[in-house]
Subunit: 457 residues, 2 copies
């Protein structure tokens, strides 16, 4: 290593001034989201379908075709609390793998909530506060998103009310404490505060689908309350593109450009945030980077799902979205990468996979934790289980570079730390980590629930 730089650090003046809207670059017209009209016939969903629960500024971002959207100054001010995030060269991991590849990682775990989620949480809280909204509701599973929104609401003087999936509420009290420390109100879902909650009292451990329904119901019924979503939607991925833009500047500092960019995918916001600025260079400037989307084999949306219209939530309250899906009532096994347990995926990311511009790969839980521990033992940072999937793919690529004897440049997104996931590491180290499979029978059962809708090309 010697004098070789390890960490590429930008100043706060280098925080991007605009978000990158990849909608402007996609080939052809994206299939629109659909909703049932008055007569039950499906028709394109428009801004009015979203206005009861989202402010107009975010709806306009959701449907915008502009290539860049300016970041409001108060959002950039909030970003200064943790951005720019560092980019590291993984010299020690390279040495451990004996690879000629140059491995870089962009680390989002330095945010107060410990992941990339605050990048969109502060943008959403700001636009809601600017629109005169007083309170945001949301759901959370393991708590990454809920804690990020609690933090963001505090910064912009909003109340925050979170429905936390019952089983997580009971088993992971620390993320709940984090939300409460930032002043949020946290309800165990299903709660008796909503019709959706009371109707599901027979499912006491709850589900993300029920929690979404509770949060949306409260937002829809109260004029001064809106709902906030942490992934999947276009505007959420848009806000995350600060990650990739900073990474481009930092790779320039390193004097390299990635041959391969790897990110994990759940709803797609981490993946889109890192890759979209690089993808634009492929599309517009003739760059030839390969993009790899890493997902869990227990919830293999991109690798084994179908490309079809499906609901975004289990209860079927959202418009139908064009995406790879395992069926909206698929309940993935309880792998520790809670942020990747989603039956569908961002329509933008799915369109890129469909177009062959992104390669999806699926990894089993034990091989993922093996990669995470190798990373922690060489680079120090203990990764969250979600980005550990990206690390697994990176090791695969680094080994391929060694076989080929090629000095490939690999960049991946380390989107969060694993400080709240150590019980999973404990199970892995004790040889007691489950390694659920997804069978053809699972797939058939999961896909049986797809709603009737036009086929996608």
């Amino acid at each position: 290593m010697g004098d070789a730089p390890v960490k590429f650090t930008l100043g706060e003046r280098d925080i991007p001034t605009h978000w990158v809207n990849l909608m402007a670059d996609l080939p052809g017209d994206a299939p629109p989201p659909l909703r049932a009209g008055r007569d039950g016939v499906l028709e394109p969903a428009g801004p009015d379908d979203l206005s009861p629960i989202f402010p107009m500024a975010l709806i306009l971002q959701e449907v915008s075709g502009e290539p860049e959207i300016e970041i409001p100054e108060p959002v950039r001010e909030a970003y200064k609390l943790w951005r720019p995030t560092p980019l590291f060269r993984a010299h020690r991991l390279e040495k451990e793998l004996g690879t000629p590849a140059h491995i870089y990682y962009k680390y989002e775990g330095v945010s107060p909530a410990g992941s990339h989620k605050p990048n969109t949480a502060v943008a959403q809280a700001y636009e809601n506060a600017a629109a005169g909204v007083k309170k945001l509701t949301t759901e959370t599973g393991a708590g990454q998103w809920g804690s990020s929104l609690a933090f963001a609401c505090r910064l912009f003087g909003l109340e925050c009310e979170v429905w936390m999936v019952g089983s997580s509420y009971d088993q992971k009290p620390y993320r709940r404490s984090m939300m409460q420390t930032w002043g949020a109100t946290v309800h165990r879902s299903p709660s008796d505060l909503t019709q959706s909650g009371r109707a599901n009292a027979q499912h006491p451990t709850g589900s993300l689908g029920i929690a979404i329904s509770e949060a949306v119901e409260v937002a829809a019924q109260n004029a001064d309350t809106n709902y906030s979503l942490g992934s999947v939607l276009n505007h959420v991925l848009l806000h995350q593109t600060v990650i990739g833009q900073e990474a481009i500047a930092q790779m320039e500092m390193a004097g390299e450009y990635p041959d391969i960019v790897v990110g994990c995918v759940g709803g797609g916001s981490n993946f889109g945030g890192l890759t979209f600025p690089f993808l634009r260079r492929n599309i517009r400037d003739g760059a030839t980077t390969t993009f790899v989307a890493a997902e869990p084999a227990a919830c293999p949306t991109l690798t084994r799902g179908v490309y079809a219209y499906d609901f975004g939530d289990t209860a079927g309250l959202t418009p139908l979205m064009p995406m790879y899906t395992l069926g909206h009532d698929f309940v993935p096994p309880p792998v520790h990468a809670g942020g990747l347990r989603y039956h569908g995926d961002s329509p933008l990311v799915c369109a890129l996979v469909k177009a062959g511009m992104v390669q999806p790969r699926a990894y089993r839980q034990n091989e993922t934790f093996d990669a995470a521990v190798r990373f922690a033992r060489s680079e120090g940072i203990i990764p969250a289980p979600e980005p550990a999937h990206a690390i697994r793919a990176v090791i695969e690529e680094a080994e391929a570079a060694r076989e080929a004897g090629e000095e490939r440049v690999i960049l991946f997104g380390l989107c969060g730390h694993g400080h709240f996931d150590l019980s999973a590491y404990d199970a892995y180290l004790a040889g007691q980590l489950e390694d659920p499979e997804f069978s053809e029978a699972d797939r058939d059962a999961a896909l049986a629930a797809l709603p009737e809708a036009p086929a996608l090309a």
Copy 2:
């Protein structure tokens, strides 16, 4: 706030090249540590007393009078994994307090282990590895130090064996998992692996004193094994002075110099690391900064202890050290700031308090958590309970500046995050946090155990 900078960021070239040894600046000769000679008479402890468990390079640092000591290149390389750490201007906290004071904080929670402890852990692991040692032993309470040493040993190819206080081992499994993720072996103390452990089988919950004895015993008995301590000793504080040196450079970037520097004090390594470079400016260059050492009222070593020779450990295995002490068998109540539950303090810090160059202050647990929550809700980062004591003192100073109508510049050390302390926040927010007092009777009982030794001036 507008365009005012929030974060002052250095590049890795700005990592200090030397540690600051404040021994060279102290007025008069420091009283030496003492040990019992062959005839039982106390005499100054020398390097030979330490060589069975420490490598000579660290012993020489321990007794050095040189004003600066060069940082070995491999240690600076390891520092690059997280250093330089950021310095923040707390604009949002200032606004919340309505104070004209300018508040800055140096944040050490970005290290892989989440605190300042790795600054010395990597230096100690390097020197031991360079001396041909194969394994380091240590004790840990809540686990901050054990996890830092586990991480550092991994970087330098050493085995690491940690005796963790039994009650913490049972109640705080995540810090144990962290150590194991980095490859350390963790024993519940008292263990049946040592004489000290077997002799204390009747104290199943263990204590730091017992754990130290176990770790020292194993190190003393094995030629290829040394012991490592995370605070108190001169060389440990020396290694931490990278913090204060970076902070000086970052305050220059901000165009200010602190009127007041605040740190929390347990064994003194965080406090010394931040303040010594600034204290040197007071001593040599006529700066007039005030230094405040914040400690828990439940373990008020500096504010209510006596300045006397005492053992560093409960069992009385160490040399006698000149320090403020509550008596070496004082067992502080179980406040959540586990890192501040030490009966004594660094002899260097104690000498500065004795000389009137550092002002100690003690704070109760509830007022400390109140300060921590106010900080988290304005600045985002959730602080560990230890630096929350410093935040409490900062709020006091900021309010005094408001009363005086003076634009005072305050800097404090935010030496770690609270990701593993959220159960304490939970108790505080629920109004169930205990608030133990330290009475005159406690003090009399605690001080009764002081060993016979020469009085200190």
